[in-house]
């Protein structure tokens, strides 16, 4: 069991072979899927019918994936992503409905609520040392109830009527609707750049920022992190707060996409939140994340959804194929690891 230290240090620094880069595999898979669906149904490349809504969906679910990724970096889980999103959307809706807050204020309020909920989970986890799965699961239960109670109390049903000015534009418009003279923007929904900012922000955080790196180090080895002077508990709280914040953003994007702040926001977030990062190569052990992989993982799942949808598969039946792709990708990844290890290359 206790394997003594291995020393491949004398070996020449082997470069990672191209096939061993997991991200490239995902890109190839993505392209292959798009090619496949386009051959079967040329309508797959129809801008209005497929591409624009698909971009909007990818935008929403990429942020959902990032929300989970934020705590996977620690080796933790957030079972309450969906409900944090719902609470955040509720806060935005309430701010608009009661205080007539403009779009940005409503958004900021929603994000703050998401971040606070995340921080609360992180605080409980870091103070008590209880498994993050249990804490966030319990929080999820509590919030499921709270969300519907709040909607029942403050609205006449399950949704707020009306949206802040500008929010419906987020849903309906693409950049092609905005022209300067004869030059119009590309057919990209307005939601996309918001998600892109989140992707870049999280990427920047984990790649270059001190806080992000210290979160990763905490995930890699909490004991060593503490003994290296990293404020471990505070980093745990921060990572969970980030997760809540991103869940809130995803809730906002979905509300924009749906056209209302409703109690159902976030109901379907849990599964995709794990699917995307895991498909993208982020493990549950903590210490390493792949932001780009998460985006690719989201794109692949959404392409499969849309493609099979066009092929007139039933919505629920699609899950079968998503699951198979996930299983295949994971097994291949495992195989890749084994092969790479045999060659003495750190995979």
């Amino acid at each position: 069991m206790k394997q003594e230290e291995t020393t491949p240090e004398q070996r020449p620094p082997a470069r990672l072979p191209l096939w061993a880069n997991p991200r490239i595999g995902l890109v190839v898979l993505l392209i292959a899927l798009i090619a496949l669906f386009t051959t079967l149904r040329p309508a797959f490349l129809n801008t209005q019918l497929t591409l624009v809504p698909m971009q909007a969906d990818i935008s929403v679910y990429a942020v959902v994936g990032l929300s989970q990724l934020a705590v996977l970096s620690l080796g933790h889980m957030n079972m309450a992503v969906g409900r944090m999103a719902a609470m955040s959307a509720f806060a935005s809706g309430l701010l608009h409905d009661r205080l007539d807050a403009p779009l940005l204020v409503a958004l900021a309020g929603g994000l703050a609520v998401g971040a606070l909920l995340g921080a609360l989970a992180g605080l409980v986890i870091s103070r008590t040392g209880v498994n993050s799965f249990v804490v966030t699961l319990a929080l999820d239960f509590a919030l499921i109830g709270l969300v519907s109670l709040l909607y029942a109390t403050f609205t006449d049903g399950v949704a707020f009527n009306g949206l802040p000015a500008g929010m419906s534009a987020l849903r309906t418009d693409t950049f092609a609707d905005y022209c300067a003279g004869d030059v119009c923007g590309p057919e990209i929904p307005l939601l996309a750049p918001i998600a892109l900012i989140a992707v870049l922000g999280v990427g920047l955080l984990f790649r270059w920022s001190r806080v992000g790196r210290e979160v990763l180090m905490t995930g890699a080895n909490a004991k060593a992190a503490e003994l290296s002077g990293i404020p471990v508990r505070w980093r745990v709280v921060q990572a969970h707060a980030l997760s809540g914040l991103l869940a809130g953003l995803a809730g906002f994007l979905l509300s924009a996409n749906n056209g209302s702040f409703s109690a159902g926001v976030g109901d379907g977030f849990l599964l995709p939140s794990f699917l995307a990062p895991v498909l993208g190569g982020t493990l549950l052990v903590g210490g390493a994340v792949s932001v780009l992989g998460t985006v690719l993982g989201t794109a692949i799942t959404q392409v499969i959804y849309k493609g099979l949808n066009l092929l007139q598969f039933q919505v629920d039946e699609l899950k079968l194929y998503i699951g198979l792709v996930l299983l295949a990708a994971l097994s291949l990844d495992r195989l890749r690891h084994v092969l790479a290890e045999r060659r003495g290359v750190p995979a």
Partner: protein, 501 residues
């Protein structure tokens, strides 16, 4: 009865055993002695089927045996009680004892037979424990005895005890040894691995001493030796000390680090130590003496209940490692480098850079180039051999890992360094290089508290030696680097009866 001959076992970078021989006779207690890293644990693990030897053979009752795993060794009649606990805490005593061959009828556990079997094994040891008690409810000593009972549950004739008294009180140890003597009376052979010489002399009949993986005394009657002679055998007269440049320590200046009458929640009492700038204070003691715990309390990881810590003369209260590092420039290189010192799955760059990110960061972001420069500087300075800075720390050899673990504190420009067992599991040559490095750091004015159970290391490096036992300082002596004289004095301090508190 059991003969292990010419055993050799190498791990990358270290030759743990180099032709060691162990000969056992039935009905005797055999002591296996040696310093840390002499190869005792490796020998025990080969005999119990955990490792396979590279060369040499194991002969049991005149027949060559090869063990494919722990269970095979057990069925061949070799039982072992490891240093770590290996019981299932939620199970009853009876079930733990019988776990390897649960008596059953049609797949159902026959609890009566299981209990009877457990009673028989407990009876062998004259233990009066209820077999239905959960192991989690037992004291450490009781659990230890249950492990012995478990080792006897198969028809065991050779019993290996690896540091059985490390976590026992004197009283408990006496009871354990009474049981050991009973076992030998019934024809068992017992191998006792222990650091505690007075116990060894009280219990064992014969002795094998290991040094650097070789047996320097083979199955000699213990009565023929005095304690000092055994110590000589263990540490070796011919210890080639590294030539280190002499340092001068200015003892009149304010000490860099000063502990005044410190007590901690762990149980340290009235610990007073001082380390001056440019000085190496060696802190020697047996495993479990409380040295690592003292270091951790100093860093704020355990509660200090009394006394005072002074850094450069000013009393301080340290809350956590971050504060120790940033405000007081104290670094700590932990003993357990894989568990606490390194991020094994992270590249060298991150491992070294982790303490300097705060300094390098611009607007919260860390420029790659600045980090690379810092890492390159210390990789060169310490001679870390790696394929590239992107190599994972877990892929380095033990010596290079330790250098990485040290590098982060040098990069953070500490001026007080606590180094805990820096050369455990590191081969001789790398060890010498390490010693030079530590001496050089002190020569540059760093105050170093060197925690080590390796006596030659302490004598080579330290300016003064403090000896610790049972969470208190037993005594302090100046090191004149005359190895024989100093080691005798240190060992005497260690084995002196504990001063009543």
């Amino acid at each position: 009865m059991l003969l292990a001959e010419g055993l050799t076992k190498s791990f990358p970078g270290v030759r743990a055993l180099d032709g060691a021989t162990l000969r056992l006779a039935a009905g005797s207690v055999h002591a296996l002695l040696g310093e840390n890293g002499a190869g005792k644990s490796t020998l025990v693990k080969i005999l119990t089927g955990v490792y396979r030897p590279d060369a040499g053979r194991v002969v049991l009752d005149g027949r060559d045996v090869h063990f494919g795993g722990p269970l095979e060794a057990l069925h061949a009649g070799i039982g072992v009680v490891h240093q770590e606990r290996n019981l299932v805490p939620e199970f009853s005593i009876a079930e733990n004892i019988a776990l390897q061959h649960l008596p059953n009828r049609l797949g159902m556990v026959d609890r009566n037979r299981m209990r009877a079997e457990a009673r028989r094994c407990l009876g062998l040891l004259d233990l009066d424990l209820d077999p239905d008690t959960r192991v989690a409810e037992l004291s450490v000593a009781q659990a230890q005895l249950v492990e012995i009972a478990k080792a006897l549950s198969v028809d065991t004739r050779v019993l290996l005890l690896d540091e059985p008294t490390a976590s026992l009180t004197g009283d408990e140890a006496d009871r354990l040894y009474a049981i050991v003597r009973k076992l030998t009376a019934t024809g068992h052979a017992v191998v006792l691995v222990s650091h505690k010489l007075e116990e060894v002399f009280a219990v064992a009949d014969t002795v094998t001493v290991l040094r650097d993986g070789r047996s320097v005394a083979e199955a000699q009657p213990l009565a023929g030796y005095t304690r000092d002679e055994i110590v000589d055998l263990m540490v070796g007269r011919a210890y080639a000390s590294v030539e280190l440049t002499a340092r001068t320590v200015d003892r009149t200046a304010t000490p860099a680090l000063e502990l005044a009458g410190l007590s901690t929640r762990h149980g340290h009492r009235d610990v007073s130590l001082t380390v001056a700038r440019g000085e190496i204070l060696g802190l020697y003691g047996l495993v479990g003496a409380g040295r690592t715990e003292l270091a951790k309390a100093l860093l704020g990881l355990d509660e200090i209940t009394g006394g005072e810590v002074r850094v450069h003369g000013a009393p301080v209260r340290i809350r956590d490692v971050g504060q120790a590092l940033r405000r007081h420039r104290i670094g700590y290189v932990p003993e357990d480098r894989k568990g606490e010192g390194l991020f094994l799955e992270q590249p060298i760059t991150r491992n070294v850079g982790v303490t300097v990110w705060r300094r390098l960061a611009r607007f919260g972001l860390i420029p790659d180039r600045a980090e690379r420069d810092v890492v390159a500087e210390y990789t060169r300075l310490l001679g870390i051999r790696a394929a590239s800075p992107a190599q994972l720390a877990g892929q380095l050899s033990g010596g290079n890992q330790q250098k990485v673990s040290l590098a982060k504190w040098l990069a953070a420009s500490c001026d007080i360094l606590i180094v805990d067992e820096p050369t455990v599991g590191i081969d001789v040559r790398t060890k010498a290089a390490f010693h030079e490095l530590i001496a050089r750091l002190a020569g540059q004015g760093m105050a170093i508290l060197l925690i080590s159970s390796d006596l030659p290391e302490i004598v080579t490096l330290a300016d003064r030696i403090a000896v610790m036992g049972d969470a208190a300082v037993r005594g302090e002596l100046a090191n004149d680097r005359d190895y024989d004289a100093v080691s005798q004095r240190v060992i005497r301090l260690i084995h002196a009866a504990p001063v009543p508190a």
